[in-house]
Subunit: 243 residues, 2 copies
Amino acid sequence: MAHTFQPVKRVPLYLKVYKAIEADILSHRLPENTTLPTETELSEQLGVTRSSVREGIRLLEQAGLVGRGAGKRLVVKRPQAGDVAAAASKSLVHGGVTFQEVWQALSTLYPSAAALAAETFAPNQVEDLGASVANLDALAPTDHDAIVRAAFGFFQTLAVGLNNRVLLTMLQSLNILIEASLARVIAKTPAAKQRIYEAQTQILSAIKAQDRGLAEQWMARHIDDLKRGYDVAGIDLSEPVDH
Amino acid sequence: MAHTFQPVKRVPLYLKVYKAIEADILSHRLPENTTLPTETELSEQLGVTRSSVREGIRLLEQAGLVGRGAGKRLVVKRPQAGDVAAAASKSLVHGGVTFQEVWQALSTLYPSAAALAAETFAPNQVEDLGASVANLDALAPTDHDAIVRAAFGFFQTLAVGLNNRVLLTMLQSLNILIEASLARVIAKTPAAKQRIYEAQTQILSAIKAQDRGLAEQWMARHIDDLKRGYDVAGIDLSEPVDH
DNA sequence: GTTGTACCGTTGTCCGACAACCCGACTACG
DNA sequence: CGTAGTCGGGTTGTCGGACAACGGTACAAC
């Protein structure tokens, strides 16, 4: 086989600036909450103009590695699960994923997550979940916005309770992806509150009883039930999730 | 309750530039592969200096919404699943997630994914999976790098075959998160190739037989087995995944 | 047909300047 | 004493202009 050459890579300065600072952050040479030097100082230390430094900073900013602190100085940040989830969801939406794909992911991930919760939840976490369900129960069946918030509150409490940032990020991404559309569906489904309440109650008691299989089953049914609302509302599942 | 005021928001121009272009991209007014105007033209159209435009462009760049095309002009891009997964993994690593969390996520997600594969895979997809396993089988038990690549090839083929970009993104994130460390583990485990081969063969035949439960079980065992390698290698699972 | 050359448009980088703004210190006033 | 003005220094945000580096194209030369 003939030898082929790699294209030589020329790296713009602003990218080098980004890489340089990123490396120091990822290696913890710049710990969380450190305030970075001023742009002028950075430009002196790195030997490039302030313009290039600023362009590099924009990249760091968008990557969630730094943020503006109290004054205006840059501060090293660690990305929160919520931020990562939001960014990922945005990209996925823009990538054109369909409702079908999101629902399949929900059906795949959430039942297993419920099973895990049944196994690992401490009594006070079960209590939190119970509070979430009670919160839903107290609402008027016509207050659709509040019902949606409460329904997601249950999922959110469950996700947070798993105490696992990887799973949390994934579950939150899914939540974000369906939240908007599910709100529309619930607004059109008269018995929504009742059905959600019953399903979540069943899931709750399965988790309380530490019954993996049951929690998984009921969560699967719950997701399925929510999904059915889309058919009823006439939403085509093969369409991209909109923004 | 006393009335409280929202902090007044001052939006820098470069952010407005970002939002403006992002909005046009997300709404498909700028479809994929569109070449954007030159920086000078953008600065004229938007009424700001080129510097501000450039800072906005860096944000778009990092968000994966645009990329440099053939020449050097900016081209509208849609984020690929791989990009999103890479970005998410990076953030999670920087967030300090532990091996424990990653493995729990793997054990939660992959068995369900295998079950889904058993249900949905077409014969030619099963064939692809089989090729992946055969590929592994052909390797020398000492060629650790190749074994790692082949093992991940199986996971990758399975993830792609699901034909679901949401799940693909999540599964790929997990792959990236353990890839480096798993390579180290496999290098230290003599019987690694054999054990991986057997597990993946079992999973394959379960999928071929369209047996959800069996595929799920074997995948769970496979993941468990891989995880055990960490204990043997003396890696503390409560430590953060390193970079 | 390949190589050399010249030109042009675009990006990358630099410089210098200034307005807007945050913050701390200090003063004046009630 | 405490609150509201005022001032000055430090920093970011924005501007404009300048030029080198590079990609692409067109054309001539070998």
